[in-house]
Structures are given as C-alpha cells and as structure tokens.
C-alpha cells in the first residue's frame, strides 16, 4: 500500500486526496455490488416499523418497515450513476457550445453566451425547480432540470479557455497548414483546454448530487418507493423523533459530495504546475 502511494504524484498523496479517493471508490463499489452487500430487500416492508439502529438492522428501519442500510446502499445505484451522467452531459453540452462560442465568435458566440447569461440570471435551485415542476415530477425530469442549469458554467469556462488558445501560434500554424476550422478546434484547441474543464466537472459532481437530491427532497424527483437519498431524507422529516431515518441517507449525500470535492481539489492541484510545485516543496 505504502509502495503504491509513494508512486503517486505528490498532490495525490495528500490526506484529503486519499480520503476522497477511498470514500469515492467505496461508494462506487457499494453502488455496483449493492445486491450482494445489502442485508435486506430495499423495498420489502417486513421489518418492525421505525426500529432504531441495532444488530439486526444497523441503520434502523423506516416507517414502512424497510431496512435503511439496504435502501442507502441501493440509493447509491440511483444517485451516483445519474449524477455522473448528468455531469458528463453538462460537460459535453456546455463544453461543445462554449468551444464553438470561443472559436467561431461573432453571432454564434454571442447567441450562445447570452443564453448562458439568461440561465445564470436565475437562482439555480429555483430554475431547476421550475423546470422539474413544468416537466412533471420524475427522476428523469429532475436530471433534465439540473442539466438545464448546469451547462452554462462549462460553456463559460470553455469559451474563455478557447479564446486564449485560439490565438496561440501553434493553432494559427495549424490553420496555415491548410486544416479546416473544425479540425483545428478538435485537434489543436480542445485537447489543450480539457484539464481545467475536467477539474470543474469533478468539483461539480458534488453540486449536481446536492441539486438532484434536493429536487427529490422537494418531491420533484424520484418517486416512492424508489430508494433515492433525497427522497429518503424527505421521508425522515415526517418522523423527526426517529433521527436515523433522515440521518443516514443525509450522511450518504454528505460523504459522496465531500469525497468528490476533495478529488476535484486534488485534480486542480495536480494539474496546476504552481500548486503542484508548492505541494512538493512543502512535502520536502
């Protein structure tokens, strides 16, 4: 273990990076292996209702007699893949639009960026709620709603990076060798701007999960009996005396968000030569 760690770059050997990595990987394992790991069926209502955490059911049971540990484990299968898909789609849509806005400029760029400004002008949660409510309460619509509010930040960052990269000599040089604008954007510009955008995406995983769970919490996302963490926290609010009903899914959200934020910070440090050097000097 120590040997593996010593081979990693300095930024990835920091305590927060290790904690983030371990927690994120653990949650991914739970998500993949939930049917094998969960002690009970997450939907079966055959346990005592609102039983406090104990040896038979470590996280207790909810008001319908379902095992909360099993539901939290199965919840990882709902929330984590959807969040990752959501961030990937936002990155793709925002990245492509931002890159086009930055590279081609003129009215294409202006149009795209004014649309992004329009989205930015609304408070994120409220806009997501409006979109989710308009589309109808379902997990798919909640994902679409978050997508609508999440892409502009990628568009803005990518546009800024592309604007800077477009004027670089090797990009001009590529154009002067006779390559088309699309090829120049794809081969010369985009690979050189992906680092910072990926950092943003990693940091955004936590935000997207919070927003998605928030919509489910408000009843605009996952529907019962689906074991979704936000919806589970909402169910716990009704039975406040039974603290375990809301606390464990809440902790699940907290740990995933923290883990991905730590990973995002680490990735940023690793990709930024200045911080990477500072970390190295501190370590020495």
């Amino acid at each position: 273990m120590v040997r593996i760690l010593s081979r990693l770059p300095e930024a990835w050997r920091q305590p927060l990076a290790i904690v983030g990595g371990v927690v994120a990987v653990a949650w991914l394992v739970v998500a993949v292996a939930a049917p094998l790991l969960a002690p009970h069926d997450p939907l079966a209502q055959d346990l005592p209702r609102l039983a406090s955490p104990g040896p038979g059911h470590w996280f207790g049971t909810d008001q319908l007699g379902r095992d909360i540990l099993s539901r939290v484990m199965y919840g990882a299968r709902v929330s984590i893949p959807l969040t990752l898909l959501l961030v990937a789609l936002s990155l793709l849509i925002g990245g492509v639009l931002g890159a086009c806005a930055g590279y081609f400029g003129k009215w294409v760029g202006e149009g795209i960026m004014r649309l992004a400004d329009l989205v930015f002008a609304f408070p994120t949660v409220i806009l997501a709620m409006v979109v989710a409510a308009a589309l109808g309460a379902s997990l798919t619509n909640a994902v679409l709603a978050v997508l609508v509010v999440a892409w502009p930040s990628y568009a803005r960052v990518t546009r800024g990076l592309v604007l800077g990269m477009r004027e670089r000599e090797f990009v001009l040089s590529g154009r002067l060798l006779g390559f088309s604008a699309w090829r120049s954007l794809r081969v010369d510009v985009l690979p050189n701007v992906t680092g910072p955008v990926l950092v943003l995406a990693t940091l955004d995983i936590g935000t997207a999960l919070l927003l998605l769970s928030g919509l489910s919490f408000l009843g605009l996302g996952a529907k019962p009996p689906s074991p979704e963490w936000g919806a589970m926290v909402a169910a716990g609010v009704d039975v406040f005396d039974s603290w375990w009903v809301a606390t464990f899914p809440g902790l699940a959200i907290l740990t995933v968000v923290l883990a991905f934020n730590f990973l995002g910070d680490t990735l940023r440090d690793a990709l930024d030569p200045r911080t990477a050097r500072a970390i190295k000097e501190r370590a020495l």
Binding site: G105, K106, R168, E169, F170, L172, S173, G174, R175, L176, L177, G178, F179, S180, V187, D188, P191, N192
Partner: protein, 286 residues
C-alpha cells in the same frame, strides 16, 4: 545578376483595415523563386499582418482589398475551402517562437505527416519516409528517433528547424518566415538562416523573410522592402537599400543600429559586413 524571374507571388496594393483603423495601406511585394525577399520595419509597422493577410488569416472584422496573386490566381477571391488547399501546400509560414508554434501534445512525426497526408493524399508509410527525409534535410540528428519525439524534447534551434521542415513538407513554392530567428540566440540564428538560404537556393523556394533585424536582412536577403505604418516606403536590391537608402526612414533605421567603433558612419555596419553572406555566419553550436 540575370534578368528578373517572373514573380511566383505578387502582393498588389494590399490594404487591411479593422474598424476605422488602417493596418496595411497598399502594400506591394513581389516574391521570386530562389530569392529571399526581406521585409523590415519596426514593431507594429504591419510586417506580420502582411504575411497573415497573404494567407487570408486575419482577425475578426478585418476588411481586405487589393490582390494577392499566386500563379495568376487571386488568393483574396478564393473560398475558405480553396484557400485551405493553398495553405501549407503552396504557401507555408514559419513563426517567430518555435516554443509556441509547435503543438505541445502531438509528436513531431504526427505534426510532420498529418498535413502531408491531407494535401498530398499519400499513405502512412510514404509520409513517414518523407518526414524522416525532411528531418535529415533540416539537419536534425537521428531523424528516425526524432520522428517519435515531442517538441519539448528538442532545443529552440532544433524546434525551429522542425517548424521549417513542417512548413516545407508539402513542397510549397513560397515560404513566409515571420521573424524566424528572433527568439533564438545568435549562434543558433546563424544556423537557421543558413538553412533557409540553402533551402531557397536548392529548392527554388520564394522566401518572404519578415524581420526587424537588419543584420539578419543583410545576411540572407536578395531584395529588401522597408515598411512603416502599413506602407512599403522603400524596396529594392539589398545592396542598394541597405547601403544607399533613398527614404529617410530607412536611413533612420540604419542609423539606429549600434556602431562598432566611434568612427562608424551610417550604413557602415555593412562594410565590413557583420554578415555580408551566409558563409560568414558562425556555425551553430560553435
């Protein structure tokens, strides 16, 4: 000197303006095969813009008038698609700083072969063989190994040679070299200049050498044009322009050169010349 050869590229009355501001105000230059045409002038005089405008690469909102004739075709009239066929294939450009003009994430081999395959429609093996030959031609040691390497693994002078090899890969008729030696130290400069002069002589290339360095100009150029505020104020054979300049601005430029001794007079930098011919240049690495 034999009679003038027909120009391969003629820039006639080229004007470029952005908004109300005129960047070029009627530039005229003729480039002939096997000749180096030097374009001198201070920063902001429009030298680089002349090179870029020739190839149709201008900032957004720039308006161009005049003619850029390549073998009778006016490049300013060409569609983007047709212009892409001319760029890299018939006219190539080399930039000032080899540290930034090569793609940092692509291997030298890919950068050398991609446009060759695109323009010449040749296969992978053939383009690779030609690329290795080109690397040898620009005197990169171990061309086959260099083919696999990345730009950061080379020194500045070698990178500029590689940039020249990339520019020459498709056998263009015209090479525009935009301050190709400014970012290099003096001994490396000499090697790159000798290479450009040699390629010009051997391949019959027409070279537009953009530089603010009159020493460089005197070393390799056959004809010299002097630019000021977007206009060519004087043009002619090197010996005439640099020894007996007609225009006061050219005289001022020559006067601005550092003197070697207290007795030096304007224009004396050329006599005895610091580099009256390429042969007098020190060898790279010496």
């Amino acid at each position: 000197m034999s009679g003038p050869v027909a120009p391969v590229l003629s820039v006639e009355d080229l004007t470029v303006s952005i908004g109300e501001h005129d960047i070029l105000r009627g530039v005229g230059i003729d480039l002939r095969p096997g000749r180096v045409h030097g374009l001198a002038g201070e920063s902001g005089s429009g030298k680089t813009m002349t090179g870029l405008a020739t190839l149709g690469l201008l900032p957004h909102g720039a308006r161009t008038t005049g003619r850029v004739l390549l073998d009778g075709r006016d490049l300013l009239d060409l569609s983007q698609r047709d212009l892409n066929k001319v760029r890299g294939r018939e006219i190539s450009m080399v930039f000032q700083d080899p540290a930034t003009s090569l793609h940092p994430m692509l291997s030298i081999g890919r950068q050398l072969t991609e446009h060759m395959r695109h323009h010449l429609r040749i296969g992978k093996a053939e383009s690779r063989a030609r690329a290795i030959e080109l690397l040898g031609q620009v005197r990169i040691p171990g061309p086959a190994a260099a083919f696999e390497r990345y730009p950061h693994q080379f020194s500045g002078g070698m990178r500029q040679r590689i940039a020249i090899a990339i520019a020459l890969a498709c056998g263009p008729k015209v090479l525009i070299a935009d301050e190709p030696t400014t970012a290099l130290d003096v001994t490396v400069q000499a090697g790159v200049l000798r290479l450009i002069r040699g390629l010009c002589d051997d391949l019959g290339l027409a070279v537009l050498l953009v530089t603010h360095d009159l020493g460089v100009m005197s070393a390799v150029a056959d004809e010299v044009s002097v630019m000021k505020d977007g206009l060519v104020v004087e043009t002619g054979p090197r010996s005439h322009v640099l020894r007996e300049p007609d225009h006061p601005y050219t005289r001022a430029l020559l006067d601005a050169l550092p003197r070697q001794g207290p007795a030096a007079r304007p224009g004396e930098i050329l006599d005895p010349p610091p580099a009256a011919g390429v042969d007098t240049l020190p060898r790279e690495g010496s």
